[in-house]
Symmetry: C3
Subunit: 357 residues, 3 copies
Amino acid sequence: MSDATVTDLLRKPSSRRRFLRDGGLLAVIAGAACKAAPKAAAALAQSPSGQTGGTMGPNDTSSRASATAAADAMDAMHEKGIKAFPAKTAGLGNQRLAPNVVDGVKVFELTAKKIQWETEPGHLVEAWSYNDQVPGPQIRVREGDRVRVILHNQLPESTSIHFHGLELPNAMDGVPFITQPPVKPGQSFTYEFVVPNAGSHMYHSHHDSAKQVGLGLLGAFIVEPTVRSVHDDPDVDEVLILNDGAHGYTFNGKSFPATQPLVAKLGQKLRIRFMNEGMMIHPMHLHGMHMTIIAKDGWPVPAPWKCDTLNVAPGERWDVMVNCTNPGTWAFHCHILPHAESEHGMYGMVTALVVNK
Amino acid sequence: MSDATVTDLLRKPSSRRRFLRDGGLLAVIAGAACKAAPKAAAALAQSPSGQTGGTMGPNDTSSRASATAAADAMDAMHEKGIKAFPAKTAGLGNQRLAPNVVDGVKVFELTAKKIQWETEPGHLVEAWSYNDQVPGPQIRVREGDRVRVILHNQLPESTSIHFHGLELPNAMDGVPFITQPPVKPGQSFTYEFVVPNAGSHMYHSHHDSAKQVGLGLLGAFIVEPTVRSVHDDPDVDEVLILNDGAHGYTFNGKSFPATQPLVAKLGQKLRIRFMNEGMMIHPMHLHGMHMTIIAKDGWPVPAPWKCDTLNVAPGERWDVMVNCTNPGTWAFHCHILPHAESEHGMYGMVTALVVNK
Amino acid sequence: MSDATVTDLLRKPSSRRRFLRDGGLLAVIAGAACKAAPKAAAALAQSPSGQTGGTMGPNDTSSRASATAAADAMDAMHEKGIKAFPAKTAGLGNQRLAPNVVDGVKVFELTAKKIQWETEPGHLVEAWSYNDQVPGPQIRVREGDRVRVILHNQLPESTSIHFHGLELPNAMDGVPFITQPPVKPGQSFTYEFVVPNAGSHMYHSHHDSAKQVGLGLLGAFIVEPTVRSVHDDPDVDEVLILNDGAHGYTFNGKSFPATQPLVAKLGQKLRIRFMNEGMMIHPMHLHGMHMTIIAKDGWPVPAPWKCDTLNVAPGERWDVMVNCTNPGTWAFHCHILPHAESEHGMYGMVTALVVNK
């Protein structure tokens, strides 16, 4: 990267950030956009004042009023962003899709179409979605299930679905002109197969894919194993899909402060399934606790290893376990810092893990 | 990466793609540019029509004629690219170089010079090559062999060869002004050593290297171990050198559709040796089957692990085994999608693994 | 990356490089800026001429005088850079900071302020530093120590310290508005905790961090374990902090030829602690010997593995051991070649491992 580009990155105003609300944290975190506990809101709201151990000294004699004023103005922007988290936006992606069971076959219908999508409060983007969600609905099945996925194309372009990570018969692989014809605008196409291998996988367009996946045609395809391990019944099981295309830097289709926190109780086991649908690496850094790597691309790793910063490359999936032993609200973000913070405050690839006592 | 850059990537017309041929697949895949079986061509040609299990529904009532026409035009470009694969181009890199054996020493001569190189049909680039190949000829020796590599420099710049991964005596390390003088235009230089360590290694220029390696001064240096493991006698053994410099996104010096397919028979064991000679990561995604990682930078991994998407960083080599258990023609590409597809169709870092019944 | 960008990278003149000195190697390497042995200087100085085994042939008949002249001019620039290594510059970061022990508490004081920093001879940049160093002083403690870190903010912006990798109580985590108020210009803030986990960690700003960390507010925080392993008493123990922000491509705050060599004696065990504080990956390539990976983010890996090129992503720490079995001066650099070399010679992320007999 040239210096010019680096400088641009540093200077770039995060024009998408709009801190229209302040102090809405408690209301929002306990409301519809938040999956979990009022305790989370309480923990977050209290932490700046309720801290123990940290002591702020008096200003030293060299402090200057003008510097302080500029710093105050910057800090106010940062504070507004944090206080707005988790901000309410229209639409939520990655929602579990219940199948219709027809003669023992789990049937999922996916309609690909253009929508408007709110990535953070007030910021609407064009999205190409499955079932009006970005990411598309989460499909969750078991190894050995017979599955039928019916794709309806309401887009202005042809499309297809590739089940990324599933070892399917060739005709179900979803690559136009290699394994099937493209699915034209207005057409439907039916994929049907017996689910061959377990793990955290993805489905996405494999036609004009740099554009179509960037615009939102993607989702999680999770396969529960028939032989279960100690990691297959966590207390909390979360999917975190990373993207960096036309919608900016997002987790599950939303940018901070509209990202969703992960919430667990003290002592619980949390499984996180990272999936990168973008074009760049994202080294995910969890504060306060480490992650134990248990699977790569759905395959259990032979020797689980620990880290606090996990480099997730495009197309990869990594499953990790977190023992939630450290109470509090913990920053959880991409450690390419320009993906997570600007002079205007945190944005993009930032969320929190809230561990409630 | 700024939004502007992302947008540029998405919009960028792949001006290098020229789909001058159509329907040439069968002729080409059975011809000189293809190493293997007519069955591969048959499998690929049949797959769009010969599929089983996928069913295309009727157009729904909302389909619009104009959208369909635009989609048809895009699809036609995509189809031409696929049908042209593997497209014939002049020159083939990474060809095994047989040594002259002189008094028990395996002698290889490498002549560095400027050539024109065809990366895809009709697209000629300036290349700096060894023996008129990009990548340079593949050198394959055994641990403990005495090897002599004679470099002849016919370039307009000085150069040198670094044997990347070999633990050589310092004077053979190929770094001008640290371990040797630069090899001037018109000069020759002789490297001689006993091969110290096994594995998948590389040789490349270590002088003005960002330019010289980007232009093609690189090749595979593979060392067979004296103590052989189960992985050392695969049915098929392939080298895949990734590059992203002045020649665009290439596998073994060629861009899709001029990349070479990997071909195996059902049930065979395929070893792939990934080598990244570029400036960017390339997470390589194989469809239909997983890869088992057996070595990093030539060193066997203590606990082989599985994946379908392998992140290969500049300078790294990764050896993987694929059990070819799933018949068909499988897309195999970099999963940074703008390295593999544009609105004009697949290009750059795309090839296929063909598993014949 | 578009072709235009690649071309820019290749063409970009390294305007920061200034080869004002020549032949200063022996004086400098034995002087204040170098930690180690005259032998290192001797080894480096001798290697171009003192090599064995490499033989330069006569110019062949096709050599042209003009090409040779241009090559000579380029080579002279390359040689000057190498000969200047390790070049003397003002200031040295990552210096061990001795604590004041107060009632059994190890007390460290860090003053954040703006300074001028010399990254290579004659090239001064604005830096935001801890205790006038880039990286900030190295903090080294033991698991279970009680530690107090007093931050004095003399910057024009608010700031904070996040102890990246330490599993601290939430109030000590250093994230403004989540775990503490920002530390305003002129203010001080005291962090105090019992060190919870061993390993190679970092401390850095977590406020306006893309800017503040890029400008230098970062340092190593190393925790010796209470239960020691075979790797915890290496002969040589080095920290290598990678950065790529406003100061260009640096190791420990300096660019080649002002980077510091790593120096060991033949047969010694060298531990290197890589830490990436930048925004890009840096695949670190060691010539001549391999590295054995022993820890990730401070956590011992369950199955140590070997490599010669280690991909280090932003926020990651990797600990490796090198058995210094191969004597000589070995190039050691980022293998994204434009981070390490231009047509003007080596620059940026290049150093050497000197193994003395």
